[in-house]
Symmetry: C2
């Protein structure tokens, strides 16, 4: 068992008994959310049962999402609404929450943060006591004549469906100050919508700002290890070898797992497909191997038979 | 003379007699505009006299600008307004004009172009008979529910001070079709404003769209050679060895000159400084040598004494 444990990353398709053995070897189960346990406002069939079965069996279950559009409180409501009724606030690690921790606890920011992102991101920062520049409602202002705040010590970019040229220009001006930090909640390039449409992600807006500023952003979300540091600081005894990362995106979830030393499971209900993983497995450079999942399942619902067997044993 | 002619690119600072020898060896003088002959609405002192002196001496003078915000007609007015009274429409090669030529004559576009840029760019395309998607005035539309045109065969990105998230999202959706071309008027990362502020350039918006679409844009403006092809198609007998490119930006103007086989002059009235050129000259990789100017002047006004000497000779 455990191809991953022997250093062989091979997109191994696994089923009931193998999943059971894998889960027995792990204490911490990390789930991505969108494309893994839900699609927007629809839960993936069986996902809520998988999560509650893991929790009931004493596993530490945490949710690690690059979605930065809402504060954690709002996530708790969403989990409940979609039938994940036993998920608590402290199990949720979003890139907005981890950005707030980074600004408050790691860099101990003194001054304001200019947020190029949604209100939810701003609310998460404010909830952590990190002050944000209030955007004045000035529809006719331009970068030639608008006010710029004096004490901006960080620009934080996230998903921003209210992006305007003025916001991008202001952020570019703030980043002229080399002492102003440049952070991105995550680097997701785009997100799938229904009907073949896509939504540009934080990575798209970050790229715009990287070019206009000539600087590179520090990325907080997956695949950066920082989210694991947040988890480790709030749960005791987290050992990478006993963690399993389950996600739908090679470039974020699988690479995050590899970067942290976890075994990884790709679920095919989201963005990345088996062929994508195979391309990274077959191709050069070898550095891309971190994007290859150890294991593959069609859906997290594939975990259910593993619990049934366990239940059978327990009821024997 | 002509360090450039011997393949030695060396930021050589030149003055009156050397400038005179250089100009005598050239038939075509190519000027960038902003930072070279004007700053916004203010002409650089002496620039208008330099341009008219060159024209009077029978040189072919052309203006090669990555500014895509206005159609050529509007440039003629600007030249006249700032004292360049003998500049004609056919001397002006802007990235918006060359984009229109590319769409009409090179790819012979059948279908509409989605423009992420200013009205001036759209007007230039329409003037060349290239149809553009009309943007409906729908302030509450989102990418989830907005209309998308059926026959978009190219997305063209330029400077867009009215950029919104919806425009970026629409462009990203159109680029899902592999038959939809992806063009950028230019790749300028930012433009200087007064008071230390900056304006994100087309290159910034292009980067956002490259990330959200996972594709690379074809760049029309400098440093791409295409603008030289436009000039060659409209003037006969353009020999690269007899062309001189004068600009203020290493990454666009100097590299464009190098890419086309011209000698190049950096003028220090704009974005790039001598130290920037020196860094490219001293640094690795050797590929960056194309960014190093052959010659450097403080301002195009440094050309004036060369004409005075010529005038003296002619009046002898």
């Amino acid at each position: 068992m455990a191809a991953g444990a022997f250093g062989f990353k091979g997109c191994q398709k696994i089923r009931g008994p193998q999943i059971r053995t894998l889960l027995e070897a792990k204490d911490f189960i990390l789930f991505d959310c969108d494309g893994v346990i839900w699609h927007g406002e629809t839960a993936i069939t069986g996902a809520a049962k998988v999560v509650s079965s893991l929790i009931r069996r004493g596993k530490n279950v945490v949710f690690v999402t690059n979605n930065c559009t809402r504060p954690r409180e709002s996530y708790v409501h969403k989990f409940y609404r979609l039938g994940f009724t036993d998920v608590l606030l402290e199990q949720i690690f979003s890139s907005s929450y981890c950005s707030a921790l980074y600004l408050r606890d790691v860099v101990k920011i003194r001054g304001q943060v200019f947020v190029m992102g949604c209100d939810g991101l701003r609310r998460e920062l404010q909830g952590a006591g990190v002050p944000c520049v209030e955007e004045a409602d000035e529809p006719d202002a331009t970068i030639y004549d608008c006010a710029l705040a004096e004490d901006v010590k960080a620009v934080l970019v996230g998903h921003d469906d209210k992006l305007t040229f003025l916001k991008l220009a202001k952020a570019s001006c703030y980043l002229r100050d080399p002492e102003c930090l440049f952070l991105a909640t995550d680097n997701d390039p785009w997100h799938p919508l229904s009907g073949g449409r896509i939504l540009p992600g934080s990575g798209s807006l970050t790229a715009a700002l990287e070019v206009s500023s000539g600087r590179k952003a520090t990325v907080i979300g997956k695949p950066s290890r920082f989210m694991f540091e947040c988890i480790s600081s709030q749960f005791s005894g987290v050992e990478p070898a006993r963690c399993l990362m389950i996600g739908d995106r090679l470039e974020t979830d699988m690479l995050f797992g590899s970067n942290c030393g976890f075994d990884t499971v790709l679920t095919l209900t989201g963005v990345s497909q088996l062929e994508d993983a195979q391309r990274y497995l077959d191709g050069e450079p070898a550095a891309d191997r971190g994007l290859v999942p150890d294991y593959v399942v069609d859906s997290v619902a594939d975990f259910l038979p593993a619990f049934e067997e366990l239940d059978d044993e327990q009821s024997d």
